[in-house]
């Protein structure tokens, strides 16, 4: 079954299909508006929406239809890059990321695993949507560059 995640403008410069070592198709997305206003749908649209949620500082979103919801939208995991985070901090970040993902009605469940290695934060989120399970891996490096991979 293919879930209807709706259609939205794409945040990507381009969607690139890559071959991973295990020969499983994956899609890389980057968070820049496209010049030709491409649209996306399906899990890519959902993945982009979640990635934006996890990289938007709380309170930065504006939305005249749901001002209260906008005020409670987002956490910015990029704030944690370069931090000397301990296991407790990472666990707390995982909980916050899970809660933030579950705010999207298309997400049935979310369980994150955060690691910080050489000032690169990797957030691997096991998600369940109407279509089934998939993983979104969000990587934030020391320069703030963001990369998300769904698999």
């Amino acid at each position: 079954m293919v879930a209807d995640h709706g259609r939205d403008l794409s945040c990507t410069v381009e969607s690139v299909t890559l071959e991973d070592p295990d020969a499983v198709t994956r899609t890389e997305i980057q968070f820049d508006a496209t010049e030709d206003f491409d649209t996306v749908s399906g899990r890519v649209a959902l993945a982009q929406a979640l990635a934006r949620r996890l990289t938007t500082p709380r309170g930065d979103l504006v939305d005249p239809w749901d001002e209260e919801g906008a005020a409670n939208y987002g956490i910015d995991v990029t704030e944690h890059v370069n931090d000397d985070m301990g296991p407790g901090d990472l666990a707390q970040l995982e909980q916050r990321a899970d809660a933030e993902c579950r705010k999207d009605e298309r997400v049935h469940s979310a369980a994150s695993t955060a690691t910080l290695v050489d000032e690169v934060l990797t957030l691997s989120i096991a998600l369940q949507d109407a279509e089934g399970p998939f993983t979104l891996t969000l990587t934030v490096d020391a320069f703030g560059a963001k990369q998300a991979v769904i698999s």
Binding site: G6, R7, A49, G59, V62, P64, R106
Partner: protein, 511 residues
């Protein structure tokens, strides 16, 4: 029957949500290929940002629209919700401007806001040392008012040489209540010269070094202008020719007025050298008066008066308009004149028996000086007075009123800062209180300074500052009652309230 519209009847501002819905409807019409509408989705967020932008633009357009309507330009506000959800209310024209009101008044009425000005005037500097001091560059030699501690500085380059001793004092006498100095020999002075008197024993006004303009009464005698004789001359005294220079307050506005101990603008109050020099004494021989910038309400009123002033019948508004705008029209007289302090209050009375029009005038501090009064008379007579009508411009009569109060506040609010705020509230109220006081249209009272009005200024300030004021026990001239003001145009009397002391005496009680 008439129909009175308010601006909200003609214009309704849309909320950001309404703008967003309109944009969304347009998107549907244009077959926008987007079906994802979750919070934070790209198109939803873009439309939301545009909606907030449109709302802000509409608010700005509302300001422009209001700016073209006099009352709204003066008192209107713009309210909108910003992108953070905060409701923001802004005046169309900020108080004291500049803004749309200034543009409208200038372009449609040829009326310009009266600007704030520095208090200033002539200062005598008497140097009894043998040294020459200076030159001091403009703004570098400082003096102060002994009562208010406001500071002043020289307008032009200043050098203070030793002051020449004109003569010694032979006698001091009482001439019509004023002080007359008799010198030992011919003094050589002329009317208007400024002298400093030092070392006189027995005359109250001359105990300390003081400087005066003179009115020559003989080769060896002259009067000290504005002096009051008190005491009995015993001995001593030297007449000096001081250095005379123009000084200006370091702070703009009426805050720089040369107030005395009673809070009344006066001479002989700026006598404290801040730049300390051995043997130099200073003394203001002019009353220094500054001016505050005109309020939106006052500018609005003058714009309306301007319309009345163009009538050939010379209605009340014409006298009022030209008196209140005399500072502008004085420069257009032949020869041009300068009004030292803008007129901020005017009351017109018409004697229906004789046809005489009385226009009582006052500035922010009280009655204008004689030179200013002459200037206003010339302006009004040349601009507002129709032929064959007598218009008399009369200085309002000062009415000193003592304001005292006990203010009850919760513990912690009985602070010096709060007391100062309440004192300023009353001072501001009195500063704009009309000549001749307030009268009830139903004639239950007339020509009063209402006690409720004064206490109302205190309560209003407490509300503005969020101070939980509990009670105000207010007295005017020692009584819990209104103050009656004299107002008799045919006798050329119309009183204007002046605080004495200038700062109301407030006792703060914590409870």
């Amino acid at each position: 029957m008439t129909i009175s519209l308010s601006l909200s009847d003609a214009i309704r501002l849309s909320s950001a949500k309404e703008w967003g819905n309109a944009l969304l409807a347009a998107g549907k019409t244009l077959k926008l290929k987007v079906t994802s509408w979750q919070l934070g989705s790209v198109v939803r967020t873009v439309l939301g940002v545009v909606a907030y932008g449109f709302q802000a633009q509409e608010a700005f357009i509302s300001g422009i629209a209001q700016g073209g309507l006099l009352r709204y330009a003066a008192f209107g506000t713009i309210t909108f919700t910003d992108a953070t959800g905060k409701v923001v209310t802004q005046p169309v024209t900020p108080e004291f401007g500049p803004g749309f009101l200034d543009l409208l008044c200038d372009s449609n009425y040829d009326v310009q806001r009266v600007d704030e000005d520095y208090a200033g005037g002539v200062e005598a500097l008497t140097n009894t040392s043998g040294s020459t001091y200076g030159p001091f560059a403009p703004g570098t030699y400082h003096i102060a008012n002994v009562w208010t501690q406001q500071t002043y500085s020289n307008v032009a380059t200043l050098t203070i040489p030793p002051s020449v001793a004109v003569d010694t004092v032979a006698d001091v006498t009482d001439v019509g209540g004023a002080i007359q100095i008799e010198t030992s020999s011919s003094h050589g002075l002329t009317d208007g010269n400024i002298v400093t008197i030092q070392g006189v024993v027995g005359i109250t006004a001359l105990v300390a070094s003081s400087s005066w303009r003179v009115l020559v009464t003989g080769p060896k005698t002259f009067l000290l202008v504005g002096s009051t004789y008190s005491g009995t001359y015993t001995s001593g005294g030297t007449v000096y020719a001081p250095t005379v220079a123009t000084f200006r307050a370091d702070t703009i506005g009426t805050v720089g007025d040369s107030l005395d101990a009673d809070g009344v603008p006066n001479v002989g109050t700026i006598t404290q050298p801040v730049t300390s020099l051995v043997g130099v004494k200073v003394h203001n021989v002019d009353t220094f008066l500054g001016a505050d910038r005109e309020t939106n309400a006052a500018l609005y009123e003058r714009a309306l008066l301007k319309l009345k002033s163009v009538s050939p019948d010379g209605p009340t508004g014409a006298y009022r308009y030209y008196a209140l705008t005399a500072s502008k029209y004085a420069a257009l007289l032949t020869p041009p004149r300068i009004l030292s302090t803008p007129i901020t209050r005017e009351t017109t009375a018409n004697d229906v028996l004789t046809g005489t029009v009385y226009s009582f005038v006052a500035n922010q501090a009280g009655p204008p000086g004689s030179d200013d009064l002459t200037t206003i008379r010339m302006v009004v007579n040349s601009r507002a007075r129709p032929n064959a009508v007598t218009a008399r411009i009369v200085a309002a009569t000062p009415r000193d009123v003592a304001v005292t109060a006990v203010l009850e506040l919760p513990t912690g609010y009985d602070t010096i800062e709060n007391r100062a705020a309440f004192q300023k509230a009353v001072q501001d109220y009195v500063r704009t209180f009309p000549i001749g006081g307030e009268s009830d249209p139903e004639q239950r009272y007339s020509n009063i300074l209402p006690r409720e009005g004064v206490s109302g200024a205190i309560w209003k300030k407490a509300q503005e500052l969020g101070i939980p004021l509990l009670n105000v026990i207010l007295q005017l001239d020692g009584r819990e009652a209104d103050v009656q003001l004299a107002y008799d145009p045919s006798s050329q009397i119309a009183e204007v309230v002046r605080l004495s002391p200038a700062a109301p005496v407030f006792t703060m009680v914590a409870s």
